[in-house]
């Protein structure tokens, strides 16, 4: 705010009110959605690189028969941590980070509805990640796969702290995911610009909403399952012990109750990202927009009826497996609608071939291939042959790399101007894409054949006379090409952030949604004025955006003046009604708080107490958590 006696402008006042406090403590206490979203995105990108490096090490071990780069224990630890990092520390947090950063901007909101909860989600995610990685420091890296099947994970077969690190760390990450999901659902329900009715919500926000609702229903059963397993390991309950009336298959049911929707939780927001990119690149509305959104919802619902197709080889009755086969086939229908929407948009639009658009095309090609093998493994007789082979490894990587990684890399290109005010180099971006796309297919396509030739998953080496040598070497070579692509992508991302800050345009891609109506990067307050939306493409329609740059409302109502010029010094935002987004009430939001960090600290100390069987430490953590949460929620305490 300008010093002296002159009256500050609206923009100066907004900037002052919405700015972070200075210093390190101010940085720690930031709750604004942009700070939290950026933290999620760049932390999870670090985890992507870490998980990728682990994959390269595994492929190095498998390049040659009887290789001895590492032993079986190290290999077990690597594939466990690779899967855990990619599933829990990269894809879901990355997608949530984008939703948290872009969502409020795309909806015309000033922040998330509960900023402190938002910050809590990030701190829990960070602590959970560090907790898992710290297992390496004490030499107790989890080593039972990212699915932690019992009975192998019961204390008698997995002594030591390895699995305890996994169970407690994953529980923290699940809590972080749930917290972010609560935020996103409330955001979409109530924090939209005036006039942004349900039919006008951007597809990307819809996708984040559907995935968040899925998280609310899918994650808690896994938390229940992990708590029961940890009780088995720590105090001797016998839920999963067949000799004492328990059942190991119970774990698989609870795990896949979460695990299969999880695949779609990773896919659906990425579909939204790809939709945002293709809409901007084709300069036209998404073909079949309503059908696209309906298909997202349909996938979200159907995904809860598929979990047993991971368990065909466990002796499930044939009638039950047939029902799950039918459900698995059914999900191909909305998936097909979505793919046809992408193709139609590209077909009818005037495409600009940006690096982000390359990733969308890569996504369509790879994901369709993964979907086709998905239909294959949904068939019980085929699954019995391919189960636990490299065919399944190839399938799941086609689905997850195609369905998540490709759109995420495209989204980093696409939204980087809004995240940091920098545009990544297009030429290097396309080179990186080429290497990643080719490298990926060279790595994983041969694995289909390896699986059909009998190479089982999770083996650390193989004999030379099995006929797998050539394809394994090819697969490893491909992984290095993909790794080179990722390295170039990362260097590109770093290099563009060196040097003086460029004057980046607000809307470098000519996109249609509202995050492009403000500065790059978005200013502290997001939008100078409250907005009015008249269509799903507010930047293209010529009617929306009253109150945005250059379009002042000559006679705004009192509540709008209050929001546009925060004389009270409070961070305030507009909450709108659920369906038609009519102005409803003004919400006062906190701007700085260390309580979420303290609450995370208490939670972390408590879990360390559980890990170490240190009851006193656990109680201290619990008390700290209760005190921090009470102070956080106490009226008037920020």
């Amino acid at each position: 705010m300008s010093a002296g006696t002159s009256r500050p402008t609206d923009t100066e006042l907004l900037d002052y009110v919405w700015a972070a406090r200075p210093g390190f403590v101010g940085w720690l206490g930031q709750c604004n959605h942009k700070a939290v979203g950026r933290r999620f995105i760049f932390t999870s990108f670090f985890f992507l690189l870490l998980g990728g490096a682990m994959a390269l090490l595994m492929r190095t071990q498998l390049a040659l028969p009887n290789n001895d780069v590492m032993g079986p224990d190290g290999f077990n630890q690597l594939f466990t941590m690779h899967g855990t990092i990619m599933m829990f520390l990269f894809v879901v947090p990355m997608l949530e980070g984008f939703t948290i950063y872009v969502g409020p901007l795309a909806l015309g909101a000033r922040d998330m509805p509960m900023p402190r909860l938002n910050a809590f989600g990030y701190w829990v995610f960070l602590f959970g990640g560090l907790f898992l990685l710290s297992s390496g420091v004490v030499g107790a890296v989890p080593d039972s796969g990212w699915f932690a099947y019992v009975p192998l994970t019961r204390a008698e077969f997995a002594p030591g702290l390895n699995l305890d690190f996994w169970l407690l760390g994953v529980t923290m990450l699940e809590i972080a995911g749930i917290v972010a999901a609560i935020e996103v659902v409330t955001l979409m329900a109530r924090f939209r610009a005036s006039g942004m009715s349900v039919s006008r919500i951007p597809i990307f926000v819809w996708s984040g909403f559907v995935a968040s609702v899925m998280i609310l229903f899918a994650f808690p059963p896994l938390v229940a399952g992990t708590i029961l397993l940890e009780l088995d390991r720590k105090i001797g309950t016998v839920f999963y012990d067949a000799a004492s009336g328990g059942d190991p298959l119970l774990w698989q049911h609870l795990f896949w109750w979460f695990g299969h929707p999880e695949v779609y939780i990773q896919l659906i927001p990425a579909l939204g990202m790809a939709a945002a990119i293709v809409t901007a690149s084709a300069q036209r509305r998404m073909a079949g927009r309503t059908a696209f959104i309906a298909s997202l919802v349909a996938i979200g619902i159907l995904s809860f009826g598929l979990w047993v197709h991971h368990m065909y080889a466990t002796g499930i009755p044939l009638m039950a497996t047939s029902l799950f086969t039918a459900a698995s086939f059914m999900i191909a229908i909305p998936s097909g609608v979505i793919i046809m929407s992408f193709i139609g948009t590209m077909w009818w639009g005037r495409l600009r071939w940006t690096a982000a658009m390359y990733y969308v095309v890569g996504f369509v090609i790879i994901f369709v291939a993964g979907g086709i093998t998905g239909v294959m493994v949904a068939m019980v007789p085929f699954d019995w042959q391919a189960h636990d082979t490299y065919f399944v490894v190839a399938h799941l990587h086609y689905v997850l790399v195609g369905g998540s990684l490709m759109p995420i890399l495209g989204a980093l290109h696409f939204w980087m101007p809004k995240l940091t005010g920098r545009i990544m180099d297009e030429r290097w971006g396309k080179i990186a894409f080429g290497l990643i796309f080719v490298g990926f297919n060279v790595t994983f396509f041969p694995q289909h054949a390896l699986g059909l030739w009998g190479m089982t998953r999770r083996i650390w080496t193989y004999e030379a006379d099995l006929g797998w040598n050539g394809l394994n070497l090819l697969s490893t070579a491909g992984s290095y090409v993909m790794g080179l692509g990722m390295l170039i992508f990362t260097i590109n991302m770093i290099v563009v952030h060196l040097g003086p800050k460029p004057d980046t345009p607000d809307n470098p891609w000519g996109a249609e949604s509202m995050e492009w109506a403000t500065g790059s990067p978005a200013p502290n307050y997001n939008f100078r004025s409250t907005l009015q939306v008249a269509s799903p493409e507010p930047l293209w329609d010529g009617e929306s955006m009253i109150g945005a740059k250059g379009g002042e409302d000559p006679d705004p109502p009192a509540w709008q003046r209050q929001l546009d010029r925060p004389e009270t010094g409070l961070r305030q935002a507009l909450a709108t009604s659920g369906l038609d987004a009519k102005p409803d009430h003004i919400v006062t939001l906190p701007g700085h708080s260390l309580w979420p960090l303290w609450a995370t600290f208490g939670l972390g100390v408590g879990l360390i107490g559980v890990l170490l069987d240190a009851v006193a430490l656990g109680v201290v953590g619990l008390i700290a958590l209760i005190v921090a949460a009470t102070a956080w929620l106490w009226p008037g305490v920020e």
Binding site: L216, P221, A224
Partner: protein, 203 residues
């Protein structure tokens, strides 16, 4: 839930619609907790309907009295908190505070009854899946009630301190919603190991 119940929400129209942000967060949290309870209940039912008799012949089913008492006291606590909310809306802060104190006492009694049921069970948690389920599900109910007690204590303090009144009572509203969840989840979880006859017959 009208938005005027919140300290941080100011209506901009004459007829504001929908709940305050805190109430949204609470309802979504209750969905999460309900799914957690669903996961636990499914696990217990899955084990109960397995091929072995449930409970096994060597275990005598403990008496159901303490669990019924706990449920009755939870109902009293929930009704008391609901009454407190009604009183606060009618500007009777003193009656609301008394009712909240009564709720807290009833909920404490429920916790004591359930702890007593565990102490008198006659078996440990590590003897059979049935005993694991008995101890764990009862323990989760006690945990939910314990959280309820902390919430009640906080809201009671706020009421006595004058931070909750007829215009600003979001905290109390949310406490009541949570207690109703505790009541329903107690019915479900305790039914599985205390009230209902065994579903599985070992057949």
């Amino acid at each position: 839930m009208a938005v005027e119940t919140s300290r941080t929400a100011a209506p901009v129209t004459d007829t504001p619609r929908g709940a305050a942000m805190g109430t949204w967060a609470l309802w979504l949290t209750i969905i999460v907790l309900a799914m957690f309870v669903a996961g636990l209940s499914t696990a217990a039912l899955y084990l109960e309907t397995g091929p072995e008799p449930w409970p096994p012949d060597e275990f005598q089913v403990p008496g159901r009295g303490p669990a019924w008492l706990a449920l009755a006291l939870t109902l009293v606590a929930t009704a008391g908190a609901t009454y407190a909310l009604w009183r606060i809306k009618t500007a009777s802060r003193r009656l609301a505070a008394l009712s909240l104190a009564w709720s807290a006492a009833a909920l404490t009694g429920a916790v004591i009854a359930l702890v007593a049921s565990l102490a008198g069970a006659g078996f440990r948690w590590d003897e059979h899946a049935y005993t694991s389920a008995y101890w764990s599900l009862t323990g989760f109910v006690i945990t939910f009630m314990g959280v309820g007690l902390i919430v009640l204590a906080a809201v009671l303090t706020q009421t006595v301190a004058g931070l909750v009144d007829e215009h600003r009572h979001l905290e109390l509203t949310n406490a009541v919603i949570y207690l109703w969840f505790v009541l329903v989840s107690s019915i479900v979880l305790l039914a599985l190991v205390h009230y209902l006859p065994a579903v599985g017959d070992g057949g």
